[in-house]
C-alpha cells in the first residue's frame, strides 16, 4: 500500500479531489450537503428500525399489534421528502446553469479523443494554432509485469509525454470530439467531464484558480487501452504561458516539414519507427505480430507486403467494422514514414517506399482527389506526383464556415478542372454544393447554391462555356469530425 505523494498529497482518499475551480467547489459543497442530509435521514430511519429490532422481539415477549394503516402518517412521509428534495434541487439547478455557460471564453481548445490518446488544437485566444498530442508516458514494461516499487509514484498511468498547458485564472473552453469511438475528457479537480463524440462537437469549460498539475483519465470505455489514455493539464502563470506559447511557435516553425522533401529509405524507416511506437504499437505490438485476431499481425501481412497504394489507403482511411481507425490526423511525413517502416521491418522486406508528397496526393483534401494512386517508385526517390489531367475529376473544393466566397486554396483545383475541360471539348461537368445541417435548412441550401455558383463563375472565368456546366440540386449533409466534408462543392463528370 502506498501513500499518495505530490499532486494527490492534499487530496482526501475518501472524498472528491480538492477543487481548483469555482464549479468544482460548488460540486464539492453540494456533495457535502447531500451527504449530511442523507446521513441524517439514514440515522433517523434506521434508528427507528434498529430500536424496533431491539425492543419488539418475540423473544422479549412482544405481542404484535394489528394496525396496518394510518393516513396522516402516510401523507406526511410522502410530502416531507418532496420538500427536502426541493431544497436539494435549488442549489443543484444553479450549478447546472453555471456549468453549461460556455460563453465569453478567453481561450478555446479542441480536445480530440483517439484510440488511445488525446490531441489538442488551440483554436482561439493566446496560443492559437498550437497543436499537441498527449500520449501516456508511463513505460509499457512498468505496466506489464513491472515491480510494484516502480509504480510507487503518484503519476503512474496519469502522466503524458506532452501535457496540455493553460494559463491560470482564464476561462478555457474545451470543445470535445473524437476520431473513432466515444471518449470522455475528465479532470476531476476541475469538475469537468464531457463525452467526446465522433462526428459531433460538444463543449465545456473551466477556469482554474490555482497553478499546478492536474490529472485525469478518459472516462468512457473506448476499447482495449481505455485505461491508458490520461489527461495531464499544467495550469501556469500568464507569463509562463506566454513563454510556452512563444517556444511552441518557434519549435513549430523550425520543424515545419517541407512537404516536397524527398527522404531516403533509412530516414523514412527511422522516422517511421518513432511514429509506429507512438501510434501503432498498442495494437500491432512492437514485434509486429499484433494480438490476433482483433489486431492482426503486420509482420508478413498481405497489406504490408502487397501493393503500397492499398497499404497507404488503409492507414489513411482505416478499415470499417474493425478496430483499425483512420489515421488522417498524422502528418504526411509521419504516414509516409510509418508505411515505409512497416514494409521494411521485421520479416517484411518489400524494399519500396513512399514519400510525403505521395501521401498528400493520396489524401485528396483541398487538392484534387487522386485516383488512381500516383506512381510509386521502388528504392529511388519518387517523382513528385504530377496532377494528371484525367485525375482532375471528381474534385472537391472546401469552403469556410458560413462563407460562399471561393477560397484562394481552391483555385488550383478550378484551374486543373478548366485545363481538363479545355483538353476534352466534349466533356461536361456537374456541380453540387453542400452545407451542414446546423441552423435553418433554407438558409443552408441557399448557401450551398451560392457556393456552387462561385465555382461555376470561377470556371467560366477560366474560359469554360456555361453550357458545359450543369448545376445540381444543393444538399445539406453531416460531414464528419469538423464538418469540413459538409462545406464542399463537388465537380463530377456529367452523369
Amino acid at each position: 500500500m502506498f501513500l499518495a505523494s505530490s499532486a494527490y498529497a492534499t487530496d482526501s482518499r475518501y472524498n472528491l479531489q480538492t477543487p481548483v475551480t469555482q464549479i468544482a467547489q460548488q460540486v464539492y459543497d453540494l456533495h457535502t450537503i447531500m451527504m449530511v442530509v442523507c446521513l441524517v435521514i439514514f440515522v433517523a430511519v434506521f434508528g427507528v428500525m434498529f430500536y424496533s429490532i431491539y425492543a419488539h422481539r418475540k423473544s422479549k415477549g412482544a405481542v404484535a399489534a394489528q394496525w396496518h394503516e394510518n393516513t396522516t402518517v402516510e401523507v406526511l412521509w410522502t410530502i416531507i421528502p418532496v420538500f427536502i428534495l426541493l431544497g436539494m434541487a435549488w442549489p443543484a439547478t444553479k450549478t447546472v446553469l453555471a456549468m453549461k455557460d460556455t460563453s465569453n471564453s478567453d481561450i478555446t481548445i479542441k480536445a480530440t479523443g483517439y484510440q488511445w490518446k488525446w490531441g489538442y488544437d488551440y483554436l482561439k485566444g493566446e496560443g492559437e494554432g498550437i497543436r499537441l498530442v498527449s500520449n501516456l508516458s508511463t513505460p509499457r514494461d512498468q505496466i506489464d509485469g513491472g515491480k510494484q516499487s516502480e509504480r510507487s509514484q503518484s503519476s503512474y498511468l496519469l502522466e503524458v509525454d506532452d501535457p496540455l498547458v493553460v494559463p491560470v485564472g482564464k476561462k478555457i473552453r474545451i470543445l470535445t470530439t473524437a476520431n473513432d469511438v466515444i471518449h470522455a475528457w475528465w479532470v476531476p479537480a476541475f469538475a469537468v467531464k464531457q463525452d467526446a463524440i465522433p462526428g459531433f462537437i460538444r463543449d465545456t469549460w473551466f477556469r482554474a484558480d490555482k497553478e499546478g498539475i492536474y490529472r485525469g483519465n478518459c472516462a468512457e470505455l473506448c476499447g482495449k487501452d481505455h485505461g491508458f489514455m490520461p489527461i495531464e493539464v499544467h495550469v501556469v502563470s500568464a507569463e509562463k504561458y506566454a513563454t510556452w506559447v512563444a517556444e511552441r511557435k518557434k519549435v513549430a516553425a523550425a520543424v515545419a516539414e517541407d512537404p516536397s522533401k524527398k527522404y531516403t529509405l533509412a530516414e523514412l524507416k527511422a522516422k517511421g519507427q518513432k511514429a509506429y511506437d507512438a501510434n501503432c504499437v498498442a495494437c500491432h505490438q512492437a514485434s509486429g505480430k499484433g494480438l490476433a485476431p482483433a489486431f492482426p499481425a503486420l509482420d508478413g501481412s498481405k497489406i504490408a507486403t502487397g501493393p503500397i497504394a492499398e497499404h497507404v489507403g488503409i492507414v489513411l482511411n482505416g478499415k470499417a467494422g474493425t478496430a483499425m481507425a483512420a489515421w488522417k490526423q498524422l502528418s504526411d511525413t509521419e504516414i509516409a514514414a510509418v508505411v515505409t517502416f512497416e514494409r521494411n521491418n521485421w520479416g517484411n522486406a518489400v524494399g519500396d517506399m513512399v514519400q510525403p508528397s505521395d501521401i498528400k496526393a493520396a489524401r485528396g483534401g483541398a487538392q484534387l482527389a487522386a485516383s488512381p494512386m500516383p506512381a510509386l517508385a521502388k528504392e529511388a526517390p519518387t517523382e513528385s506526383a504530377t496532377t494528371a489531367a484525367s485525375d482532375a475529376l471528381p474534385a472537391k473544393l472546401y469552403f469556410r464556415v458560413g462563407k460562399a466566397a471561393l477560397p484562394a486554396d481552391a483555385m488550383d483545383a478550378v484551374k486543373a478542372v478548366a485545363e481538363f475541360l479545355a483538353a476534352k471539348p466534349e466533356a461536361k461537368v456537374d456541380i453540387t454544393g453542400y452545407t451542414d445541417q446546423s441552423g435553418s435548412l433554407d438558409k443552408n441550401l441557399e448557401l450551398a447554391k451560392e457556393r456552387a455558383k462561385a465555382v461555376r463563375d470561377a470556371l467560366a472565368g477560366a474560359g469554360i462555356a456555361e453550357d458545359r456546366i450543369h448545376m445540381k440540386k444543393p444538399e445539406a449533409v453531416t460531414g464528419g469530425g469538423d464538418n469540413r466534408e459538409a462545406r464542399r462543392v463537388e465537380i463530377n463528370p456529367a452523369s
Partner: protein, 530 residues
Amino acid sequence: MSSIAHDPAHGHGHDDHAHHPTGIMRWIATTNHKDIGTLYLWFSFIMFLSGGVMALTIRAELFQPGLQIVQPEFFNQLTTMHGLVMVFGAIMPAFVGFANWQIPLMIGAPDMAFARMNNWSFWLLPVAAILLIGSFFAPGGASAAGWTLYAPLSVQMGMGMDMLIFAVHIMGASSIMGAINIVTTILNMRAPGMTLMKMPLFCWTWLITAYLLIAVMPVLAGAVTMLLTDRHFGTSFFNAAGGGDPVLYQHVFWFFGHPEVYIMILPAFGIISQIIPTFARKPLFGYASMVYATASIAILSFIVWAHHMFTTGMPAAGQLFFMYATMLIAVPTGVKVFNWIATMWKGSLTFETPMLFAVGFIFVFTIGGFTGLICAITPIDVQIQDTYYVVAHFHYVLVAGSLFALFAGAYYWIPKWTGHMYDEGLGKLHFWCSMVFFNVTFFPMHFLGLAGMPRRIPDYAVQFTDFNAIASVGAFGFGFSQLIFLVIVLKCIKGGKKAAARVWDSADGLEWTVPSPAPYHTFETAPVVK
C-alpha cells in the same frame, strides 16, 4: 429433485394428471409451472456462478496496480460479459422462476395461463446462454464494449458481438413471452373472491414488472438490431459520417435500460413485502400505498432514462428535467421503506434467515437508494459518472437489493418447494458472510469513485491501491460464501426436518394452505377467498 415429484399420498382426485414423463424428458417436455420454476431457478444459479467467476477474475486483476493476470482486451470482455450474464442470466430468470413457482400458488390457480409457451420461454434461455458464453471462444473473443454495448465501440467488435446480439434477441423473446404469461395468469386466473386489491404484493409487483418487460424488451431488441445493421448491412444509425448519431444509441438503450433497473428490483420489493409481515406477525402496513408506490416507480421509470447520459452534452433544460424526474423517484421508494419499517414497529419479531435477508435488504438497499439520489444531482453526477462510485451504487441496489431479496425469498419458500426445512444455522452463516463481505467489497468503491478512479479499467493509479485490495479480498469472500447457499439447497432437497403446510407460524396466503412439498398439481378446484 425427486422430492418435488408428485407424492401419491397427497391424492386429490386427479391422479390421471400425474402421469408425466420421468427422467430427463420430464424436464424437457414439462408444462408444469413448478417444474419450470425449478428449471429457471437452477439456470439462474448456474449463470450466477459463471458471472461470479468473471467478477472474481476482474477483482483478482485489480488486486494491485499493473497487469498481472489478464490483458486489457480480455479484461473488457470480462466486465462486459459479467454484466450481461448477471442481468439477463442470473437476476431476471431468477425472478421469473419465483413467479412461476409462486404466482399460481398465491392466486389459487392450477398453473400458468400458457403452459406450453412457458416451456418454450424457459428452453430458449439455455440456447441464449450458450451463445453468450460461447462467444468467448469466437474469433476475436467476446464483445468488449461494456454491457451497455455503446456504439460506435460495439461496431468495432468481432463476431462475438453478433453472437451476443442474437443472444439478446432470444432472451428478449423469452422475457416477453414470460411476461405475457404472467399478466394473463394474474388477470384471468385468480381464485374467486381474490380481487386485485386483495392480491399478495408479490403478485402486484410482478404484474407491474411484466408490463414494464413488454414495454421495453422490444426497445432493446430494436437497439441491438440497429447495431447489427450498422455492423453488417451498411446502415448509419449511429455513424455521423452517414448522417447518424452515436448518442441515439444511448437514448434508445437507456429507454430500455432504466425501466430494466426496476424490472430487477420491483419483484424484490414484492418478496420483501411478503416476508416482513410474516416475521413481524403483523399485517403489511399501507398495502394500498405500496401498490400505488410500485405503480408510480414504474411510470417514473419511463421519463428518467437520460440521467445515464448527463455527460453526453445535452442542453441545460434536458439536464434539469431529467434531474428533477429522477429525484422524484425517491418519494415512492421512500414510502416503501417507511412502510416496511412501520410493519416491523410494534410487531413480534423473530429473525430466521428469510427475515435476516429481508432486514439486511432494507438496510443496504437504502444505502444504494441514497447514493442513487446523490447520482441524480446532475453536477455531482458529472463528477462521478463512469467512476467506481457508480459501480458501488448499482451493486448496492442489484446485489444487496435484488440478490438479497432473492435469497430471502428462496429461504422463505424452499420448505414449501422441497417439503424440508433448510439448515437454519448454515442459513444464518450464509447471511452474515454475504452481508459482511458484500460491504467489504463494495463500500470502499464509493471512496475510489469520489477520489477519481474510472470504472472499466484493468489497471489504476497507485493511490487507489489499498481500497482495491480490500475490495478484492471482500469479493473472494463474497464469492465463496455463495457456495454455502448451494450446500444448503442441496441438503434441503435431500432431506431434513419435515416442513408443515404452514411453514411459518403467522404466514398468510394461499400457498400455505397446500401441503409441503406442494403437490405436482395444486388448486385444480379453485379455492374461495373471502
